[in-house]
Symmetry: C2
Subunit: 169 residues, 2 copies
């Protein structure tokens, strides 16, 4: 289940958001303003702008997978300035997630997870996924989506959710 | 795991959001405007307002649990007009979630889930939780939070995430 969440579902959501960025770029082109304006947009003055929201949700997925599997995640420099560069970061994040297998997650639930800022405290992998990784990931993706919606990009929830693997009957 | 997500984690997130509504009410009082103004706020003209976002995330949690366990969920009339009434809806949602046990979720992953609007198509419980319930729940909670943030309510991500069950080293 942790594999399905962290790899399968997060990969899908990252791909969905990458397509939202295509719509954002098209919107900026059609209105003849630089798409970097959108990347600097935010919903409150003391909230991270869109560019940083995207960096954070990539890192939440990537570092979460590293914490849960004990594998080393690639380090990304926070240097993106354009939609194309942010899409490349999403692609690199997905590429790392895809190096991991269900087997890598076998001990994930009981693994001890800690982060430098937790000052020596820790969570089990199960607790980390539930209380931290999942709500944080969807928080930053949804906030990024909301910033685009607020700025008039033609998005709907289907763009965020993506296709459902329905079966007939 | 589906129990932990749908009951443990969603209950925590609902409780966290209920406290965000307390802060929203206090903010409106301090600024001397009716808190219903916040409930009518939205981030885009064709997006649901805060009041509806709250109704939807309650229903996503409640109906999701019903789909996954085969239990019947209580029906809520969409009649709330005040923060107090919405907090009561959140409480009723949590009360229903708390009637369910881990045992009720034993067959959840393989249960067939369908909704009237899916026109006869279905997902497995596992697929439903991953592709539908989880991303939808966090989407509407985060959007509700973003509407409050955008309107100046003094919230931070810790209000959304709540306490972490850290252990010392």
């Amino acid at each position: 289940m942790l594999y399905d969440l962290n790899i399968t579902q997060f990969t899908k959501t990252l791909q969905n958001f990458s397509r939202c960025l295509d719509k954002a770029a098209a919107h900026a082109d059609a209105r003849k303003f630089p798409s970097e304006v959108l990347l600097a947009a935010r919903l409150a003055p003391d909230q991270f702008a869109l560019l940083r929201q995207i960096q954070i949700f990539c890192d939440t997925a990537k570092n979460g997978a590293a914490y849960l599997t004990g594998k080393e995640a690639p380090a990304f420099k926070d240097e993106e300035k354009t939609i194309a560069e942010l899409k490349a970061r999403i692609d690199k994040t997905i590429a790392f997630l895809q190096t991991l297998s269900a087997k890598d997650f076998e001990a994930a639930a009981s693994r001890r997870v800690s982060q430098p800022r937790w000052q020596g405290k820790s969570l089990s992998g199960h607790e980390f996924a539930l209380h931290h990784m999942l709500p944080n990931f969807f928080f930053h993706v949804t906030t990024a989506y909301s910033i685009l919606r607020h700025n008039g990009v033609d998005l709907g929830k289907r763009d965020y959710l993506g296709e459902m693997p329905y079966k007939e009957a």
